[in-house]
Structure formats: C-alpha cells, structure tokens
Symmetry: C2
Subunit: 160 residues, 2 copies
DNA sequence: GTATCCACTGGACAATATGTTCAGCGATAC
DNA sequence: GTATCGCTGAACATATTGTCCAGTGGATAC
C-alpha cells in the first residue's frame, strides 16, 4: 500500500489536466509510455484511482443550494433509514458517524425554499428522531486530493 | 441552464463507463458523433461537467479514517482560518455554514490516533473557538450524482 | 559471486479514435 | 417564406492506443 513519487506525479498531472493521454504524460514525466501505462493499471487495480467519472456541478444542474444534515436515528432503524435516504436523489452522500445512531448527509436543493421540501422528504421517515441542518454559504476549499497525494508520495517538490 | 434527456444520458453513460470514447458513446446512444462532441463541449463550457479528474481513494493512499469537524470561528477571523485550513493536506473539503461563524470540514487520517494529530493541527489556530468531531464509521451512500442527473434530465427511464 | 527477478526503456506494429470540415435536412422562430 | 439552429452522415489527415518484443540496470536470494 502507498504510492511512490512517480505515482504521485502521475496522479497530480492527471488531476491538473484530465484530458491528457498516456503518451503525453510519458513525455511530460520523462519516462517510457509503457511505464506510465503499467503504473496507471496498477493504481487502478490497487483502488488508489477509483475511476475517471465526470465531476458534475449540482449548481449548474439547477441545484445551487448545498446543506449538511445531521440525523439522529432510532435504535435498530439504521438499515431502513439508509435505504430510505438512498432513494432521494438530492442526497448526494451519506455517512454513519460516531454518536448513538447518528448520520450525516449532504443535500442539494433548487433553492432555500426547495430545501425545505428535500428536508421534509428526508426526515419524513419513521426511524429518524431528530435532524439538524446547516446550509452551506461558501466553499473555500472544494473537495481536493492533490495535497494529500503529494504528502502520501513523500515528495512535496512535485508541485511543478 | 439545465440539461435535457440526451445530456443526461451522456453524463450517466460517462459516469458508468468513464474510459468510453466519444465515438463509442455516439454508437451506444444512437446519435451522430458530432452531436455527442458538441453536447460534451457545451456541458463543459456550461460548467455542468467540471472535469474528469481521477477519483482517488484516500483509504488506498493510507488514510482510511474520515471525520467531519464542526468549527466555531471567532468573529472576523474567518479568512485567517480558511487560509490556515487550506494548508493542511488532510483537510479535503471546507465549507462555511449558517450559524455564527461556523465551518464544516472533512478530514482524513492514517488512523484514529493520527486523527488526533490532524485535529490538533486543525484547531491549533487562534481563530478557532471550539471544535466538534464526528468520525465516519460507514459510508452507505458514497458521493454520487447519477440520481440527481436523472432527475434534472427529467427522464427517469434513462436508467438503462 | 552468480543467478534470478523485476521494473523500466525504446522501439515496432496494426487498429482505432480524434479533431475538423462539409453539405444536406427537418423543425422552429419571426 | 426565409433564416436559424441542431442533428446527420461522411470524409480526411493525424495522433493515440493496445500489444508485442529484446535489452538494460538494480536489488535480492542463495
């Protein structure tokens, strides 16, 4: 487990210029094409790189409001609540966390008013005891991975 | 703003099989290659598709522990705290939320013990008044976008 | 010290996809 | 009725991919 400096440079390069090809990467990194190809294959079968799916912006889809809801679940109802939340398209992400029957989910909505509808749908389920919602106002650090990759690769100098 | 059914099918197809090419997509969707190409270009300049960066799994990188920290910030220190948190690689994401000077951030760590080090580094900053951390135990719904895209495209039947 | 393994190199090849352009066509707007 | 728009289907040169291969160097085992 873990990645070396070359792996790190590949991931960072890919993160900065996703449309780049294997051939161009090998040119930029100064290694043979086969090497990059082999590294990429390994990173993917390792599970380090899970995929290259499109990063879709919910705001551009018409859902500019993001919120986080903390849910308190009645004992033993966890599985049912999970199944319920999975059916709500506006639930982008769901985690169970420490704390007795607590969950945290990320929601989006078309507007603040629409958020009320989403929350009603989310919490309108028997197993949910209590819900607290925090609306996101700003996102100073969007989901990122490059700094962590650089740290994991043990080579802060690959910030090219 | 908004997407139609064809846009939705393109995004869903791309999400399911990211390595697919434009040509193969046009074959699958039964439209001309130029159409797919034009739609993709538009989706990207629209900002609907932000990019195709690699989805890296922090766990495979050696950071299997995820946590969410709620931070309470001293009035007027917001900018400083944001800048501070941006320098911590283990901070994957940061939001400012409703509530007086509240922030929510996603953290990863190498272990529960390591999480303590990360939290110390995060909160070891003047502007932070109080911090509450919830450790993620399970992730029943990983970050997803397909259901929302299908809803936005107004075509639930494109679940092919 | 020698054999063995492994990753990387640099090259080759056929097959495929890409970027780009074009004329034609149907629906819609005015 | 005419202009505009998006889509089709085709063409072309170019670039990239997947897949081989033999050779080289370093590390490891014995």
């Amino acid at each position: 487990m873990g990645i070396d400096a070359l792996d790190g440079r590949i991931i960072v390069l890919l993160a900065r210029e996703p449309r780049i090809g294997v051939l161009e990467m090998s040119r930029r990194l100064g290694v043979a094409r086969g090497t990059v190809q082999a590294r990429l294959d390994r990173l993917q079968s390792n599970g380090v790189i899970r995929g290259f799916g499109p990063q879709v912006d919910p705001a551009a889809l018409g859902y500019p409001v993001t919120a986080f809801a903390t849910l308190q679940i009645r004992q033993g109802q966890g599985a049912d609540v999970r199944a319920h939340l999975a059916t709500v398209p506006e639930v982008l992400e769901l985690h169970t966390t420490t704390g007795s029957g607590d969950m945290l989910c990320r929601l989006v909505a078309r507007s603040n008013a629409d958020l009320q509808r989403v929350i009603d749908r989310v919490v309108g389920f028997d197993g949910i005891v209590r819900a607290a919602t925090a609306i996101v106002m700003e996102n100073p650090v969007p989901l990122r991975i490059i700094p962590l990759v650089e740290q994991a690769a043990g080579d802060p100098a690959l910030r090219e």
